[in-house]
Symmetry: C2
Subunit: 346 residues, 2 copies
């Protein structure tokens, strides 16, 4: 049997730490190193840095080129950023050293939407260096694209698709809460949407592009809106207290039009403690077509665990793929990897 798969993790925050811990649990796969952007992480032992009780004897590096040379990874999981622009430098360094890349940067799920020139460069980097590059995650990457497209496989025709993802932000810290406007007044929320500090969900256009490409639809335009979810009750988490009349979260919507008709409609209300106003969390997908399809999952597929899982489960798919820039819909379906990781490479 081949040697264990050598994995490098980029980023040791909440997601990177989760990915690293999962890699350590799996068989046939080895965590050979960790890169961090923050200077303060340099030289720390990886173990405690990712939340383990014991040291691993391997240190975090803030110099990507040198950690690649030292640890010789065959694949890297990038958890350092959200945008393609911000992801490019690291991916360039990885690919040029013949390291395959899995990125959980949201925009990397379909990089050509916001960064068409970067997508061309990514394709060339992958081909020139014989590696595969893919963006994944729970959303974009799964709930509002891969799962929907999978369901369309049993349709002979489709008129429209709508989906709604209701989640609970109670487990998240200040930066996520701020990005959804939690705790703001209604006025401050509207201002923050305008100045870009309240962003809502990153990934609607990427999911829409994935669906449209899979079905063969040309999309004319994508409209997005972000509205405040004003609480009628007091909602308290370890990180925020929302008084009645304040904003508990952001209702982010996106509508994609084709020939002037709305064909894909997404709603993603993100808030703290939705159950306090009798709102159940969950994922609902409705396809209007032949046949009509309605699937509902309750509670919602969890964002953090789900992203960590799919980023690791996709490793053998990426190593089995032809070199290139891929989306989740280019590769065979990603399954939970419950045995030795090497057995999943085809």
């Amino acid at each position: 049997m081949r040697d264990p798969i050598r994995v490098l993790i980029l980023g040791t925050g909440q997601m990177g730490s989760g990915v690293a811990r999962l890699v350590l649990e799996k068989q046939g796969i080895e965590l050979v190193g960790a890169f961090a952007r923050r200077a303060g992480r340099d030289g720390l032992d990886i173990g405690p840095a990712i939340g383990l009780d014991q040291e691993l004897g391997r240190k975090i590096s803030t110099d990507l080129q040198s950690v690649i040379e030292r640890t010789q990874p065959e694949i890297a999981i990038q958890t350092t950023c959200s945008t393609v622009e911000d992801a490019m430098d690291e991916i360039r360094t990885l690919a040029c050293n013949r390291v395959n890349v899995i990125s959980i940067a949201e925009e990397m799920a379909y990089p050509s939407y916001r960064s068409p020139r970067a997508a061309i460069e990514l394709q060339r980097l992958a081909a020139d260096n014989g590696v595969s590059i893919i963006g994944t995650g729970i959303n974009p990457g799964f709930v509002l694209d891969t799962l929907i497209v999978t369901l369309t496989g049993v349709c002979t025709d489709i008129e429209s698709i709508s989906a709604r993802r209701v989640n609970d932000l109670s487990g998240y810290g200040p930066s996520v809460l701020k990005s959804q406007g939690v705790g703001l007044s209604r006025e401050a929320f509207i201002e923050s949407v305008e100045n870009g500090t309240v962003v809502g969900h990153i990934g609607f256009p990427e999911s829409i592009c994935l669906i449209a490409q899979a079905l063969g639809w040309d999309i004319d335009a994508v409209e997005e809106s972000r509205q405040p979810l004003v609480s009628r009750v007091r909602r308290q988490t370890p990180f925020v207290t929302v008084e009645p009349g304040q904003v508990a979260g952001c209702l982010h919507k996106a509508v994609a039009h084709r020939g002037g008709v709305a064909v894909i409609t997404f709603e993603h209300p993100q808030q703290v403690l939705p159950e306090l106003e009798d709102t159940e969390t969950g994922d609902t997908i409705e396809i209007k077509g032949k046949p009509d399809i309605r699937f509902t999952g309750t509670p919602e597929l969890p964002g953090d665990t789900g992203t960590i899982a799919i980023a690791v489960n996709v490793i053998p798919r990426v190593l089995s793929a032809r070199p290139g820039l891929h989306t989740m819909l280019d590769l065979p379906v990603t399954a939970a990897m419950l045995g030795d990781a090497r057995d999943f490479i085809r």
Copy 2:
């Protein structure tokens, strides 16, 4: 752009006719011929034979070799049978003439389970002739395998999987109703299970093998049971009347064990008019793991339309694949093919 994809249909019964009509509706794809097993179909015009108002000017043939030579298909969709054994002769003829094969024979979803030697031959036929061969359908092929495996992709670990598919047989004719024991007494049902005339669902072991292979699980044994669904009310369809106390259908269950523990449990009650006893149709998938997942679709994904759709939607995936015997989990996810079929070939 390349010429339209040339498709041959095998079988002109309910499923074959549905597939043929859908092929005729799609762009970039051409129905070049039809083969039927029944001598009485020979020479009939395909149009009326598949339920169209007008003739197509192409005739059904009962000689497979000659219809292949005459029509030069690049892919065939086989709807003539349920077992690998029964499918082999036709697939052999197709592959030897370099025709790719999509089969909706239930056992073809994972042929090596019941016919390991045939599966080896299929692999060799595909490789030697440079074609791809795949089994698909709504179930096996989708609801209880592909869809479940897709959901596992966001899991870091899985303890067990259970799924329940509740459907309504009211639209089906005598042969399907007989295979589920509809209209029998309880005693006659039990006898018919023993003598093999009541078979229940064909495909549980195939779906279990697909899941097990995808996850890396070794399954020790699969147990199946078939119980009568005895009606408390009168249920009447165009083809059968079930009096109270008679059998309205078959509750077919399968349990797969791993290390002595039940890890996959399927229940598939098939009956006429379940709503008369307040039973809602639908598909439910439950995964016990990290995280727990519960997805429910209501009503159930329809068996006939769904199988017809996926058999046609998978065409470009098969034509894009490396030659070989494939399962639905080897290829990129099959999406509804809403544009020109040729644009979906990669």
